[in-house]
Point group: D2
Chain length 409, copies 4
């Protein structure tokens, strides 16, 4: 091992000690079988000072070195010897060239003609397509790759700015880590309300991703208030949320359960299906509203307030409703279309849609994910959404408290 | 099998069809390998009429017949040919004679000198000790059996009145069956509030069994209001609930987490321990209140309002607090002492204590069990507590809604 | 209420007492505010005898009566006065006429020209389209309704045969009800193995619905053996299962976690994406197999054994793989195409796909649903799949035991 | 704030960067409202080199400074200016003086007469009692404090060696962090088997903490093999595990469920109670074994192999069995008595006992905690047991795989 020639020098910059980036990088090197020499380190003497480190990474094979460099790259470690990024033209539609650079959800730059250029439409698990003439770059999902587009391959000339390399300044991020039902709910609700107020004040949009339990537990009224008061500007959901909501408006039940009496209406699923059929007969939710058939609920409020909604299809859907986008790639594209300008995302009681939207959001959009099942919250955070705060709580009571905290009457 | 001589005739009476008792009895007979002949059945023509059935149970062996009779006995099926119950004197302390009759939590009678006598102190998993002279009978836990006491053995002369043999008249029982987080919470809270009001009006006591998440999630304030307004008359809890509650009063944290800021106080467990130490130094919670050391929280409100509390010990306890009863049998006895007069029991966020108390309660005391973990709720209901309504929800928001519904300001 | 004129007589036939159908029907009538008179009841004297009941249902309004009749109809209660079913021509594509009869997953018949005709393609939440000339009827999903087709409306001339009206003869159904992790696993595995053997011997197909945790936990090897030995004849899954499986074949990791070493490969998601890209570049999974790129795993075994698979898309999919059907309605149709002949369905570690497939299956196809999360199992069973046996267990160890029980080496 | 005089210099030594100790310490200082100056830092250039850091901690009040110092002390940060520890004589039995030093589960030393002395019986949440004459120190639980004993107060002269300050060298610790059911089970089982083998080879004891689901799921056979082959040397459990185990031996059921047939024996709880009564009549489990009444199962194997067991009581216990220690403090003492020499602890399917034992174990005893409920595993790890590896899996299949991996036939 003495004369290992598989060596590369990398740099790390920022709040890399208290943000745990440096420790993570060193840990990756060691647990992958490599070793390191800290060539130079300038530690910020005070909390506000950034730290700069230069690390020589050593490995026992070229493959091992590449594996290590690939992982630590996502933590912000970039080779000292910079060069322009390498691109290869896509040789077919719908797939990238082998070796394509695979994106994270962190802010990313690529080096083009000696200049670092921001990658637009940042999204994890995409490729980066560059326009050499325009000196621009953007994230492109695999399915949307087109023959001839120049796709970035390898790590050279790509740098990533993990969120964690900025100082943790507010409570929000601090609460992000542990998922537990045994937490003070009042403080959590206050934090989320504050984040929503800040988002609104800054002119950014609040996106809600809602599952059917919002309606089952009786939370429609509270969502309606969020919409009417401008605290919900885009809605992503599925066929189930919309149908249960409109079933409640039309029949007073949600999946057949009466919200007033709590009594299970055993024929429940029939109401569900008749609701879908009725809306299909009207042609659209908006038509049902304009003709006076639908007069309350979340979907009604969206139509009235002009809040755009994307209803994405799933294989367990009945019907579905006319607005449901049954092609999942098309649904992803439609969701992406609404993301620019979103500053905060509230996810309540949905696993599938939460994870789908989590995949689309850049890391700098704050997310609050509320679910009574800790597994949902954990799953989302495991996906690499460091910006997510997880709250294990019940949908209706949570929304009630949130509306109360925001003083929406 | 043609000439099976292992036969016994049993009777069932009450709302045995819509309460599912008759179907259950027939099902048990068949699945245990027996067979039946319905000798006589008079079905109530209307919903309010009781049904009477006489069933010949047939088995292929004496053991099988006894097994079947033992199970259906708990569903209210009693032999047609009645006789006095059989008793055997206990031959040692702390154990029953072999073959002792094992109690359920349903109203039970034993036949003494030709007369059916109510069994007192009804509790599941006990023996029945009779006083032949006084013609009385009572449930006795195994550990409390005394040499010479006459203990009922076998099923003869014992009859059980399952709750289900009475008509289901209100929503409460109706909601008892399915455990789900996806239910309208408003209706549930209204039902529980109504049951609590009825209990108070009827002069019965409301028992609360609380776990530490009540404090963690920020629910102390709401429990305090229940106490001050007379909606909580006895408290069962453990060392943890009481300590977290007093830690909040003394330090503003619960297991080190600040309820106001939500910020984890990492030294958290230290506050916890110092709280216990302080109370131990005072000698009792009441002493800490009277000396002005403790001025808020659940335990303070209990002391102020004269609400009795039983703190039962567990092997994971730190300290524990002076009032904690470290011997579990002694703790069970102390809890039993407070049960007479209890008409409603509210269990929030505790598995161990909920199951322990569920074991002690007769089936006619209504129980509402609130937990964010469906497993806790299911476990309690599996234990045979048909009178339990399970609510999968979050402690603080639930209590807040309950206090709101009861209009306790 | 004395002179309520809202009355209808219904009949119930079969093992309606021990199967709980009669009690359920009476319960529905009462809890919906109606009342009943049992006009006639002939109870089977022995376990094997069917019972016949004639019930006069009384309500206080026409609506209430219709509501009650609608619910009890699904439990097999049919009006005494029979008539042909009523049909109305569909007035548009993709929606039914108002008042359409909404199907259950039980065997159903409609009366055409005085004759009871079986409804084909039985599936819940569909409409029934009849061909009056051919005297035939079939279930049609809402989205597939065509203008002019005659659709059954109302309950007249429709009868349902709930599974429960047949005797419970084997353990399988008996275990169906309670969902718990605290059950003897050996007995459960034996039961499932026996059901799979019976299915194979009867010439029916075994359908598997698998989620990605099958691969994560290391279960691919066991699924491979099921395929090779003919115990898995159709596979339904999503993009994730197939990708993780092929990632393991190509990189030795599953979502970046090495199955051998258990070490998280932090770049994990990259392997995932590169796997999809590689297969997309090959054009299909089969092409990757035939060119020798893919040489092991579940998908490889399917291709080799000619086991058909349906990969249904979802909005959280990366890529997706070329075979993934991105339109969810199309995916449902493709799944339906494979259902005829399926006699047993094994669902492991997937919520979305399990519920989707549960919706498509008729009630007489036995289903075993294995998941480590009790909520998944409960959800499926709540959807009305009485034929489902739920097992709360871990994917890999369960599959290992199953393969062992089936002695597949 | 410019001239803040609340300053203290602390030192940190070891693998404090890749073990995350330094980042944690800096983070605590900042989030508690303090600030820091890194006076000196010598970073290990290579992975094997330790790092040494000297940090000036600044706060805005004496209280804040003490709070910060208290927290970072548990992460190994000790004041530069050392002095002997301060002690105060206990002024009463069963409680410590105010300000007592509260222990962690990490190796700890106190300075007595200028010399650093190891604290014996390391256990979290205790006080430290010193014998000045003998220059010795030991952890003492609060309830066991005696008047006159010298108790350490404050942080001076106390230093802590967090486990994390040693390099992470094996997979075991690496897997410790994330709790998920979606992990390769084979690798996990191999790791645990290897740790058990190492423990046995080093002459240390293996402690098992088992809950009743071990028996319910059918795992007794596998536990028996561990005992017979010397892989289980001490058993901690409760009344339930022992009763279910012996119920299986006596009746072939566990809580009334037949392990062979899976059929619920509805009278189940009766078997449970009769088992307890029988053992109480024999006087002890050992007596039941020696008289031939008990001939199989976990408790039988323990008696035969001379494996000591501690059965700790809880308030939900029926009976309990004669060996159950009903006083929880006494039970804790008895468990402590068996801890010396324990090198590995396997916890399966028990929340209460796992947490209780986790509280008693020093941080250097490796723990594997297996439960099907992720909440149990998370709870244990939240309690500060960094040495715990959590496995979300099913009891019986896990134990079967473990026994298989250890090749115990």
């Amino acid at each position: 091992m003495a004369d290992t020639p598989f060596v590369e020098e990398v740099e790390l910059h920022g709040h890399i000690i208290d943000s745990l980036l440096l420790p993570k990088v060193l840990d990756v090197i060691l647990t992958r079988g490599g070793s390191y020499v800290l060539k130079d380190i300038k530690i910020g003497q005070r909390g506000s000072d950034p730290t700069h480190a230069r690390i020589e990474v050593r490995a026992q094979s070229a493959d091992q070195l590449q594996e290590i460099l690939g992982i630590i790259h996502d933590h912000g470690a970039i080779p000292v010897h910079v060069a322009d990024c390498e691109t290869v033209p896509a040789d077919m539609d719908g797939a990238f060239p082998e070796g394509f650079y695979c994106t994270s959800n962190f802010k990313t730059q690529v080096r083009l003609g000696g200049v670092w250029v921001d990658v637009r439409d940042q999204e994890m698990d995409c490729g980066v397509v560059v326009d050499l003439a325009a000196k621009s770059a953007r994230c492109v999902p695999m399915a949307d790759a087109c023959t001839g587009e120049r796709v970035v391959v390898g790590l050279r000339g790509v740098r990533v700015f993990p969120e964690a390399s900025q100082r943790r300044t507010d409570l929000f991020e601090f609460m992000a880590s542990p998922v537990s039902s045994e937490k003070p709910k009042g403080a959590t609700v206050r934090e989320i309300a504050a984040a929503m107020r800040r988002t609104r004040e800054s002119g950014e949009k609040i996106l809600a991703v809602l599952g059917p339990a919002v309606v089952h537990t009786g939370g429609s009224e509270w969502v309606g208030r969020l919409i009417r008061h401008g605290y919900l500007n885009v809605l992503f959901a599925g066929n189930a949320l919309a149908t249960h909501d409109m079933e409640q408006a039309l029949y007073g039940t949600s999946l057949g359960v009466s919200l007033d009496r709590g009594l299970p209406a055993e024929e429940g699923h029939e109401h569900h299906l008749r609701t879908i059929n009725t809306i299909r007969r009207h042609g659209s939710i908006a038509a049902a509203v304009s003709r006076g058939k639908l007069g309350s609920g979340i979907m009604y409020e969206c139509v009235k307030a002009g809040v755009p909604f994307v209803l994405a299809g799933s294989i367990r859907d009945d019907g579905p409703l006319p607005e449901v986008i049954t092609d999942v790639l098309q649904a992803q594209r439609e969701m992406r279309r609404h993301l620019p300008g979103v500053g905060f995302c509230l996810m309540v009681a949905t696993t599938l849609h939460s994870i789908a939207v989590g995949n689309l959001l850049p890391a700098w959009v704050k997310v609050a994910c509320v679910d009574i099942n800790p597994a949902t919250v954990t799953k989302l955070m495991d996906r690499g959404s460091v910006q997510t705060i997880g709250i294990v709580s019940d949908a209706e009571p949570f929304l009630r408290s949130l509306v109360n905290e925001l003083q929406l009457n």
